[in-house]
Symmetry: C2
């Protein structure tokens, strides 16, 4: 019942979090009416809660009176996984200097990869991801290398789900993917061409946690025609991955669980 009465049986906390979740769906700023519509909260409730969130700085209004996530929430969010990003950043920078290619590091978050940092210059390559953005595990080099090194039950759980085709070249056949992942485990790196975006190729190596489990993946992105040059960067990629491993004890990660976050 869009824009109708507040949903009964819901706590105020859940209502507030549902307002914040509206801004996860897309980058577009929202009007009060849109927030009420998307949360199914009564306009009066929406108005009151949004005003409190704005007063604190969790939301802020743009020049057109529309709401977007506030800079205070960005500041607060910087505390999450800070250790990983602060240790990894200068090493990503070194890898960029060595290779002159776009460098990124990603972790698994449920059944997707989440890009936690990236270093790139103005020489852009077609890229589908952004820092704080997610992509399917099966279609990206970072995702494939993580999936290849996860426990078998988790790998099978991901392969049992419907696998999205981002391009006509995305590998989506579970049996073919299972064989591809076995090859990645053996070689120790993953490569993709045109699987997420036509014109982009990528390579990634695993970053292990202290106890030996997979923690993250470190990757490079280049234009599809530069695929061969990416493989030449493997020694640099592996060297930096080892340095990240020896400095970071663990990575922030959530276990695989039923998708409930986009409600």
């Amino acid at each position: 019942m869009a824009g109708g009465v507040s949903r009964p049986g819901e706590t105020v906390t859940q209502r507030i979090l549902s307002i914040l979740a509206v801004f996860e769906k897309s980058l577009a700023p929202r009007s009060l009416t849109e927030i009420a519509h998307e949360t199914d909260l009564a306009p009066s409730t929406t108005h009151r809660l949004v005003a409190e969130l704005e007063e604190w700085g969790a939301l802020q209004r743009d020049a057109h009176g529309r709401y977007q996530v506030g800079i205070r929430l960005w500041e607060l969010g910087q505390h999450a996984g800070r250790q990983v990003r602060e240790i990894a950043r200068p090493l990503l920078q070194d890898l960029y200097t060595l290779t002159n290619e776009t460098v990124h590091i990603a972790i698994r978050e449920r059944n997707e990869v989440l890009y936690i940092d990236r270093v790139y210059g103005t020489r852009r390559v077609p890229q589908a991801s952004r820092v704080g953005g997610r992509l399917p595990l099966h279609a990206t080099a970072v995702g494939k290398v993580i999936l290849a090194h996860e426990d078998e039950w988790l790998r099978e759980a991901v392969l049992a789900q419907p696998l999205e085709s981002r391009t006509p070249n995305t590998h989506v056949d579970p049996d073919a993917l299972r064989a591809e992942l076995a090859g990645i485990r053996e070689r120790g790196y993953a490569m993709t061409v045109d699987e997420v975006r036509i014109g982009a190729s990528s390579i990634a190596v695993p970053v292990f946690q202290r106890e030996g489990t997979i923690g993250a993946a470190l990757g490079l992105v280049a234009r599809a025609e530069d695929l061969d040059t990416l493989e030449r960067h493997l020694p640099a990629l592996r060297g930096i991955a080892r340095r990240i491993e020896s400095s970071v004890g663990g990575f922030p990660m959530r276990t695989l669980a039923p998708e409930r976050r986009r409600k």
Copy 2:
């Protein structure tokens, strides 16, 4: 009344936000008891609200059962000021490549500078700030250059406040600062030596918004003894500042208002 009854007259939203605000005070993870103590909420209320925040992903527990900001809040926070960071990042990267010095960009947030991005390698210089961190306007090169170009009433309001000495070399005399800021406006850049941290020097230039008002400051940090080399980088610094200006329409910023955020 630490750890006592929930404060009456406070909305649930305010209670939730006061829990999040605990994590702004320091980077340390907190136990439930510490959260209850720092928010002055009843243990039962704290337990219930923290559980809801954890369930959503706003908070997450570490291996010791202590709470820290969750990765979902980091993801959500990436939406704030995204346009600025996405446009500025490759340009900061180019500036780093040109100068091989630590590069950062900062905006004014109330009466402090807030560092919104930074590019640096493994060759570290002593630095007092971090991305998402704040420093006093009067003591940093980025802060001085912003303050120099703000409206006079705002500059005077900042100079009328108690000015913190971060080191014995921090400039804190309002009259001397007023003259220094006039010189910065004339020269078009600010420099500091040992004002925030002994052993670090910095230089910064203004980044203006489309309508001509000051939006941000772009700066370099080096070891104090390399102060002279910083001035040689002025043409590169100014060139990149102009490129940021021509790409970014406006910067996220809040007006100067009474300090109410650390309550």
